[in-house]
Symmetry: C2
Subunit: 327 residues, 2 copies
């Protein structure tokens, strides 16, 4: 079992626990084989562990046909490393001192080091993908990095713009989050030797899980307990980032001026409190939770025709787990 | 002829001028086909032109055997885009307001945008490499990004450490500069269908041209005219970066304390003036120029057994051009 996983996650990951352990080994061995001044940085980011949801999806999606087991392990390692690289740069541009209660690379070293080290980790993830020897997977991986970066750029450029439609929100969270989940499941399916219809089914699964994951995250920001989440409640709003609960608020009360007023003066904590209060006292939160539930239902439906087996049940269970997740 | 190239460069590039024009088209079409808020950024960095030395080397290295002409064009575009991506991040971490007299992305927008947009350009370059359909080339490209990033990290971690040996300097400039030149020529040779011995010869050529290029750059920093270079003379020293002229200074006058004294107090302009004066009044500069010359000689020797033809003569001429270059 992976160190630090709760029992439920461990049971979901059970069909691929050996491969996941090999992913951990690959990540750890990066720091162990490095001798340059980059070594302490590699050790810092690979030591911390984590849920490893994305690599687990890659490995589970590969289990439906006989295949070379090495390739999904390379891909799963690449997917996790890419995730770590994006966190390094996101925390740098957001000036975040902490991530899940632990000092960020940018804070422990400095932004200069964090930008260059993030580049290094991006490139390392790409070399892992090359080891899959599959050009389609490699290309999809590069496109994913473009989507992740453009998702963050859109979030930045659209910040403090209260006129955004829900459509823009969906495009943005696809790019910044669901894109990598898609690629995790699609590449697992491809490297697992799945036929094209199953590749598409597993890709749809990843898309919907990723969307559920991000909407769930956005919900936590307006309802979560700050000590659990490792970041203050309302931080999206303070950064001018519109998420589903806030968009619903504006849709339902088009004549109220709560969000535009906050965006004009984001330092006014009374205005932030007011927005959060109205959201929490309306049906917005349960309605958002229904959106998360819908995405999870779609994820399960996407793979309903796959043969019943341990990995299939794990993918089903993972979708329920995303709903109940309180990190 | 490429817009803005001087006559000598244009004549060196003549055997591949059509392909280089196609590289320009590919770079320009990135901005033309983009509709998101990323578009103005793409236009800004692809509009500026430049010498295009690296893509020219890729295209020239591909000319020795019959081949699919499309693949080296993809590769050359990727090589130039990767170079542009590194400049975006380097200028960001160095807080540089200008690059060759033009405002940097970080300065025109801000560091937040520059980090994410740099990631986007890195990833775009990687998708171009995928279009070569050659896994060895794709892998080498990812390793190059690792080398470029680690070269910049080593420069940062070793800054203000006057005890560095010349060996460290060579490793660092290989990573931060020569690595991409190697990959430019090696990938051109591979995609041009060259046999392995020619691939190695052209790789050696790229290595030596790249080393000459960087030592030449380091020389410009202690002797150049600030208005020509677009950055102040002595900027490496001010940032604690040891280059060949300074290393030679410390090797020749081990009992003098000029460089360590400056590193203890980098804001003391009298100490900087003193270091530059001693370098300029010694034989250090001609000795460094001999190092550049040696690398260029080795570059020409590396490809001396290749058949005499236009591209071969251009590669030879390019090596002389690097020596005489005063950008």
């Amino acid at each position: 079992m992976l160190h630090g996983l709760d029992q439920r996650t461990a049971s979901i990951y059970a069909p691929v626990q050996d491969q996941l352990a090999r992913v951990e080994d690959k990540l750890r061995s990066l720091a162990e084989t490095e001798t340059s001044p980059v070594q302490p940085l590699l050790k810092y980011v690979t030591d911390v562990g984590g849920k490893r949801v994305r690599p687990a999806i890659t490995l589970l999606a590969a289990q439906f046909h006989p295949h070379d087991p090495e390739r999904p392990v390379f891909m799963a390692s690449a997917v996790e490393l890419l995730h770590l690289a994006t966190l390094i740069h996101d925390d740098t541009v957001d000036n975040s001192p902490l991530r899940r209660g632990r000092s960020t690379v940018s804070n422990t070293w400095n932004p200069h080091v964090a930008v260059l080290f993030g580049d290094y980790v991006f490139a390392t993830s790409a070399t892992f993908v090359c080891d899959t020897q599959n050009i389609r997977v490699i290309r999809r991986f590069s496109e994913t990095i473009m989507e992740l970066a453009s998702g963050q750029l859109l979030e930045y450029f659209n910040a403090f713009d209260a006129a955004q439609a829900r459509e823009l929100y969906h495009d943005r969270i696809y790019r910044k989050t669901a894109s990598l989940f898609c690629t995790a499941s699609e590449s697992g399916a491809l490297l697992g030797g799945a036929p094209e219809n199953e590749v598409q089914a597993l890709r749809d699964y990843g898309y919907n899980i990723g969307m559920a994951f991000q909407v769930g995250d956005d919900l936590l920001d307006v309802q979560g307990d700050a000590s659990n989440l490792g970041k203050p409640v309302g931080s999206d709003l303070l950064n001018g980032v519109l998420t589903l609960p806030t968009i619903m608020l504006m849709e339902r009360y088009p004549n109220d001026d709560l969000v535009p007023a906050l965006f004009k003066d984001p330092t006014d904590s009374a205005k932030l409190e007011k927005v959060l209060e109205v959201i929490n006292n309306s049906t917005i939160l349960p309605d958002c939770e229904r959106v998360v539930q819908d995405y999870c239902d779609k994820a399960r439906q996407a793979i309903q025709d796959l043969p019943d087996c341990g990995p299939k049940r794990s993918l089903d269970d993972l979708s329920s787990y995303v709903i109940s997740r309180r990190r």
